[in-house]
């Protein structure tokens, strides 16, 4: 989230897309309800299904799954056509006035820079015109200014086109567009809330970027009650991402090095943003080297010296990626020997379960660390598998549950909150990090004994713990914070990091969370005394836990004030310039604390980008500088905007590339659109071990539109077979009008709902069907996140 949960109560309008917070985030949902109850904020829920969130929203729009780019695109077009954007904000805080190179082109669904052979775009082909001063040329009235190109790009997203693509009827769309258009006023603010419903598409990144563009146009980024707010799926998934449990980054969102990068200079040249405006602070780009060197010092200690480029050579430079899909694709191709799983069950959570089961069967060994047996630790028990054909040696190492260990959870709003262990570990269970530490220690011992190819990265890694096989989370937290190697003191903030090898930081965005004064994530100065603990009254509670970066509660908050530092809305102050003290006050400023905004050379508001502004046009994504609507890989129609380029041309099709048979279906065989989702009663798959929750939702089911059910003679409770090109479910039907037909490009389209929670492990093993048996093995071009949320199925009564 750019903002945080408590902040949502400041919103006048909440657009909820690709999320169902009432069911998936019921506790956080209280803040949306407060916005509604306490300030009369309006809640618009745009979703294929009428869910428990829709039930309390002001308006539900039934949308075809995977078409939110068209919906947001329609809103962007409405705002631009009617001149409803926040003009002062757009000029001040976005790259609207930057001029794009003449080579930029978008025709019939294709941007310029496409490599036909490799099926990728050269993203450097989407670039600014650079002036003689070396900075980007700015002229908002130029025909190729970002704003004018954007107008042209989105002019195709008329209410009629929105209706053809999304199924949202024109009148309903315009009713919402009118509400959204009002949010460009400085005294109004809108939040956009989303979850995996936007990410799980081959256009996932662009679905989210569409919302961000709308928010920038309306001047809602950086403001209390505004922002783009991702609800994260599990208690610490935000912490996981921050610490790089993701294939494309190092801790703190530093890019993973690439082949050919021989030294830090190469790496910085390819990874760090370049300053594109004289007044751009370009804080991230300018300090990239400090963050990387401090990370290398944290990992390799004395072995990282200026002379050896701080052991940059030790970092892997992978030629391929290690995204979920790529890992299992490698196993399918027989290119992977073993796999260690922790904190999830691959069998259930990946797309195309039958293919994943095949991948697991191809392994020599599989090691599962978990508190319970899972569908992965017992994958050979899946009813369709012949165990005699599985060669995989499976090891289940009993791991502690999070309730049995301390450590911090970082929530969706970026607050790292420390928790204590509630129960002692049971039996011989060990913490996951103890298991990994011991495995590493033993591997290191083997390298010491036997040598090996390039042993230094393993031998030289610093393990600064009292017991190298049993590190304490408190020790790791201190290590992540980093220290000054000269004084030996832990640092109070990332501004103190250096690129000369005298500082360490395991994750620069967490530097300052554990200074010498103590672990700030343990702070609990909250609502027991709001007058004292929330001095601004805005709900920042600065001494409750710790929020990255720098304990800042709202990202980009410099944009909550105008160019002179006056808040856009004096009633909802993010930060403001206090000329008397010469400081910014309010939240921790996302800006130099004493930079006088009246000075002509004061930095531009978005300090993290090379432009100094928010980006309406960006070459940071793989599939286009402006979001464009593409159909899901499996779709009932051809794209009405450009039928010849219907789906995204850059989605990586693993089966096709590996020469495996096609596993995508067509609407001739699979006429219904399906989407998968969670229910409030379960938490992914682990709660199949919790009897009270199994009692609340005991059986697998699918939701079927009433009209379709009537056609097929299906009643609630009947057993139905739902099949895709990849697999099937045989489960109960729940017939409801909460799902219904849509008219898409003149064609009647039904959507089927597939809750995901069941499997062949847990209390009720008769409910063995894996929902992901249906979902396609294909993902987003930038993130490689699988398209769980839009695919084609057939349904029959059994």
């Amino acid at each position: 989230m750019t903002n945080h949960w408590r902040d949502i109560r400041h919103a006048d309008l909440m657009l909820i897309n690709g999320a169902n917070p009432a069911e998936a985030h019921p506790v956080g949902f209280q803040w949306m309800m407060r916005a509604k109850i306490e300030r009369g904020g309006k809640m618009i829920h745009t979703d294929p299904r009428f869910t428990r969130t829709s039930a309390v929203s002001d308006k539900h729009l039934r949308i075809r799954t995977g078409t939110d780019v068209a919906y947001f695109g329609g809103l962007i077009n409405y705002v631009l056509q009617n001149n409803l954007e926040h003009k002062e904000y757009v000029r001040f805080a976005t790259n609207a006035s930057f001029v794009i190179k003449e080579s930029y082109n978008f025709t019939d669904g294709m941007f310029n820079g496409f490599d036909e052979a490799k099926k990728v775009y050269d993203t450097t082909a989407w670039a600014y015109e650079i002036g003689p001063d070396g900075f980007a040329v700015q002229d908002i009235d130029h025909p190729r200014s970002v704003l004018n190109l954007m107008r042209a790009h989105y002019s195709r997203y008329t209410p009629e086109m929105v209706e053809r693509i999304t199924g949202i009827q024109r009148a309903d769309f315009l009713e919402v567009a009118k509400l959204v258009g009002e949010m460009g006023r400085p005294d109004k603010v809108m939040t956009i809330i989303y979850a995996v419903g936007l990410t799980h598409h081959t256009t996932g990144v662009q679905l989210i970027r569409s919302g961000a563009l709308l928010q920038l146009l309306l001047g809602n980024m950086g403001r209390p009650g505004g922002g783009m707010n991702a609800e994260r799926g599990h208690a610490n998934i935000q912490g996981n991402t921050d610490h790089a449990i993701s294939w494309d980054i190092l801790p703190g969102y530093l890019r993973i090095p690439a082949p050919g990068q021989k030294n830090i200079d190469d790496y910085i040249a390819r990874s760090a943003a370049k300053k594109l405006h004289a007044n751009s602070l370009n804080f991230f780009g300018a300090n990239y080297r400090k963050f990387l060197v401090s990370l290398l010092k944290s990992w390799y200690g004395d072995a990282a010296t200026a002379a050896n480029d701080f052991a940059f050579a030790h970092l892997p430079k992978p030629a391929s990626d290690a995204s979920w899909l790529s890992i299992f694709d490698a196993a399918l191709r027989g290119k992977m020997e073993g796999l260690m799983l922790s904190g999830m069950t691959a069998t259930s959570i990946g797309p195309d379960s039958n293919q994943v089961l095949q991948a697991l069967s191809n392994l020599k060994w599989l090691c599962v660390m978990d508190a319970y047996s899972t569908t992965s630790s017992e994958f050979w028990r899946e009813p369709s598998i012949d165990p005699s054909k599985v060669q995989t040696e499976v090891i289940l190492l009993p791991a502690t549950h999070w309730i049995e260990k301390d450590g911090s959870f970082t929530n969706s709003g970026r607050w790292a909150q420390w928790k204590e262990a509630v129960l002692p570990p049971e039996g011989e269970a060990r913490h996951d990090h103890w298991i990994l530490a011991e495995v590493f220690d033993r591997v290191r011992a083997l390298y010491k004994e036997q040598g090996g190819k390039y042993p230094e990265p393993v031998l030289q890694l610093v393990m600064p713990y009292k017991d190298v096989r049993r590190p304490e989370l408190d020790e790791i937290a201190k290590e992540i914070n980093g220290k000054d190697l000269i004084t030996g003191q832990r640092l109070t903030g990332f501004a103190l990091l250096k690129d000369d090898g005298t500082t360490t930081a395991g994750d620069w965005i967490y530097t300052g969370h554990y200074p010498e004064s103590g672990n700030l994530t343990k702070r609990r100065d909250g609502i027991q005394d709001p007058a004292k603990n929330d001095p601004t009254g805005m709900g920042y509670y600065p001494n409750w836990a710790w929020s990255w970066p720098a304990n800042r509660r709202v990202l980009y908050n410099r944009a909550s004030a105008d160019s002179l530092g006056r808040p856009w809305d004096p009633k909802r102050v993010g930060i403001q310039w206090d000329a008397v003290t010469g400081r910014w006050t309010g939240d921790v400023p996302d800006y130099p604390a004493t930079a006088d905004p009246a000075k002509p050379d004061s930095p531009l508001p978005f300090i993290m980008t090379g432009e100094g502004t928010g980006r309406l046009f960006s070459n940071g994504v793989a599939d286009g500088p402006f979001p464009e609507h593409y159909e899901p890989i499996e779709s009932p129609i051809d794209n009405p905007l450009h039928p010849k380029v219907s789906a995204t041309p850059v989605a990586f099709k693993y089966d096709e590339r590996a020469g495996r048979p096609n596993r995508f279906g067509t609407s001739a065989d699979y006429p219904y659109v399906a989407t998968s989702y969670r229910l409030t009663e379960h938490e992914h798959y682990v709660t199949q071990h919790v009897d009270q929750l199994v009692a609340l939702q005991p059986e697998a089911f699918v939701e079927v539109p009433a009209e379709l059910a009537k056609e097929k003679g299906i009643a609630t409770g009947d057993r139905v077979r739902v099949s895709s090109k990849r697999g099937k479910l045989e489960v109960r039907a729940v017939v409801t009008a909460r799902l219904g037909p849509l008219t898409i490009d003149g064609k009647k389209v039904y959507q089927i709902g597939i809750p995901i929670h069941w499997g062949f492990v847990g209390i009720n093993t008769s409910q063995h069907w894996l929902a992901n048996a249906l979902t396609p093995f294909v993902g987003d071009a930038s993130s490689r996140t699988p398209e769980f949320k839009a695919f084609l199925v057939n349904i029959e009564k059994m």
Partner: protein, 271 residues
């Protein structure tokens, strides 16, 4: 949470307009009160609990009125969700019919079944107009919501109210809750939600319910007796009362006659 003081009347205000059907109340109730729950059954996909009973002292009802339309308002009135519970009636018929005195009104003005006094006669079950009470077959006693009597004695709010994420279930002194409910109703009416109505907040329903509701439709939709019917027979039904009296008189007469005849027989035998 302010202090919980014996001698004051406490209860629930359940605001169904903000209920999101998450069932945290059901789970929190079972956890605190150590209820095993019934064997799992598939109901309709969303409501698999079915009803209030010995194992379920909170039950979230789902009333699906959603029209098959491409767009429409939610506003808490299309798909109604309501966390049902014992109403802790002022005129509590369960308490009135209990022959052993097991059902008492506590110092918090709540209705409580003392398990060690209950003899399992089931009179309360048939007396309850809301179908709240059921026998726990293993323990052999009648069970229902205690309004977390043990928690109140320890100064803690009931488990369901504590767990409710949207403040749909609010706990507090009944007087304060009634004021809050009135304000909430006015807000909703001000927003044009004309369907919103309070239920059991005044004496018209069984003398007033300590656990009362803000509903988004007529009470009958939620299987609740409306005001006309929500009164104890002994207090509004003169004809029924007279019939009962007449039956009683006849029974007494019949008894007397029977005894007299027996005595006559005994006399005969003695003679």
């Amino acid at each position: 949470m302010a202090e919980i003081t014996p001698g004051k009347a406490y209860g629930f205000f359940t605001d169904t307009s903000v209920c999101i059907g998450c069932k945290a109340c059901e789970v929190a109730c079972k956890s605190w009160n150590m209820l095993d729950g019934n064997p799992p059954v598939f109901g309709d996909g969303y409501d698999n609990t079915g009803s209030l009973d010995a194992q379920n002292w909170r039950h979230v009802q789902f009333l699906d009125n959603v029209a098959d339309q491409a767009a429409g308002p939610g506003q808490g009135k299309a798909w109604l969700m309501m966390s049902d519970v014992c109403k802790h009636c002022t005129h509590a018929s369960c308490l009135e019919v209990c022959p052993t005195g097991a059902i008492i009104r506590t110092e918090f003005d709540t209705v409580f079944i003392q398990p060690d006094v209950c003899n399992g006669c089931r009179d309360c079950i048939s007396a309850c107009p809301y179908g709240v009470i059921e026998m726990d077959k293993q323990k052999g006693v009648a069970q229902k919501c205690t309004l977390c009597y043990d928690r109140l004695q320890g100064g803690l709010e009931p488990a369901c109210a504590k767990a409710c994420p949207t403040q749909s279930i609010q706990f507090g002194p009944v007087i304060e809750l009634r004021e809050r409910a009135q304000k909430r109703l006015e807000v909703l009416h001000g927003q044009g939600v004309a369907e919103a109505q309070l239920y059991g907040h005044d004496e018209k329903v069984y003398g007033g319910l300590n656990a009362f509701f803000l509903l988004m439709d007529e009470p009958e939709k939620y299987n609740l007796p409306n005001e006309k019917n929500a009164v104890l027979p002994s207090r509004n039904n003169a004809r029924g009362y007279l019939t009962l009296l007449a039956t009683a008189v006849m029974a007494v007469l019949g008894g007397l006659i029977a005894i007299r005849r027996r005595r006559e027989k005994t006399d005969d035998a003695a003679g």
